[in-house]
Symmetry: C2
Subunit: 201 residues, 2 copies
DNA sequence: CCTACCGATCGGTAGG
DNA sequence: CCTACCGATCGGTAGG
């Protein structure tokens, strides 16, 4: 295989994966057939297998590539020497920026990862629980430092945070152009940290 | 059909639907086969069709029954003559109580409704947007009455609220017994309304 | 990237 | 609730 062919194959494989992400998001992994995918790409179903090994390989690359991006973003934030609430704020903004770079892959990451087979599913869930726990530690740090209320349930807080973050790709439409990803992150973190209520004057 | 048979059929149909809900939650609607379901019930796949008309009929009854419960709960709250923030609080607690009554059906309602065919899917989405908009009006009322900050994005606020509420069945385990459904609603609404941050002393 | 094809499994029906 | 079965569709392979 020449260099040019390698590059061409790589980019064609990318095309297949990106189109698959759209299809998986729309119909769900199980309900999306390889024949659907082939049709979207204008080729025969059998031809897909020149580019990918299996349907699940596509799901795997989507899920694990996103997981890697999320992890890198959080590691960047953890290094910084700022207050817990600022760290939480930056973690939230980072997470939203990673999602905003590929909303389709983010939706698949969130909703379709359960169709991974073992041992990939287990590996994926371990990465995810690790990521969540690191956010939880930031919140716990905030409680200890008296930045956050001592009465909050940190598990509830972190799950609420994640629910809000992870559903974003389901309703956020950047082409609607009302609000930018960073601005969205700022508002969301402000809402979770400061709440909806009017500050006492 | 005698009365006794009618009652027996009804309860058997209920058993089929409840077991199907567990299966749909676990594997997803598309990946759950009628043969899987039959095996869980200890009968042949063909025998299922003495109780239900089709696979989708099960999904329909799960989704629309939950939708009805949510609507009734919110209507109850809307009647009450209280502040917007209290109305929001009661709406959240009501929503969580409805979910807590059947966490399995709630998870299916949330994650599998997209597999409804037309025209049911459209009807379902209309019910859902209506429900969301009624919560949004409560938040807007709170902004107008100066209970909530004028700077909040009400669409973002309501979608964040719903994301938090709707993901609850995915991680909340009442048998873990750490926190009761009502207490969960109270804490969640406090968190969204007042935020995580320590009140200024 | 295509033609030709495979075994497995799907939701569901007929008839009892 | 069962046996027997159907047409459709699935993910994927062989060979070019």
């Amino acid at each position: 295989m020449t260099m040019t062919e390698a590059i061409a194959n790589l980019s064609r494989k990318e095309q297949v994966i990106r189109k698959a992400a759209e299809l998986f998001k729309e119909k769900g992994y199980a309900a999306a057939s390889m024949r659907d995918l082939a049709q979207l790409l204008g080729i025969e179903a059998a031809s897909l297998y020149s580019h990918i090994k299996s349907k699940e390989e596509i799901l795997r690359s989507l899920c694990f590539d996103m997981a890697t991006e999320f992890r890198k973003s959080l590691e960047e934030v953890e290094k910084q020497n700022v207050s817990a609430s600022e760290k939480l704020r930056r973690g939230i903004i980072g997470h939203i920026q990673v999602m905003a770079k590929d909303l389709t892959a983010s939706a698949v990451f969130m909703n379709e990862h359960r169709h991974l087979s073992q041992p990939y599913l287990r590996d994926f869930l371990l990465l995810r629980i690790n990521y969540i726990n690191r956010f939880k530690k930031i919140i716990e740090e905030g409680v200890q430092k008296d930045e956050f209320k001592r009465t909050i349930d940190t598990k509830l807080a972190v799950m609420t945070l994640f629910s809000s973050l992870n559903w974003m790709p389901m309703w956020y439409d950047p082409s609607g152009g009302i609000i930018e990803p960073i601005e969205l992150g700022v508002q969301l973190s402000d809402m979770l940290v400061n709440g909806l209520k009017q500050n006492p004057k």
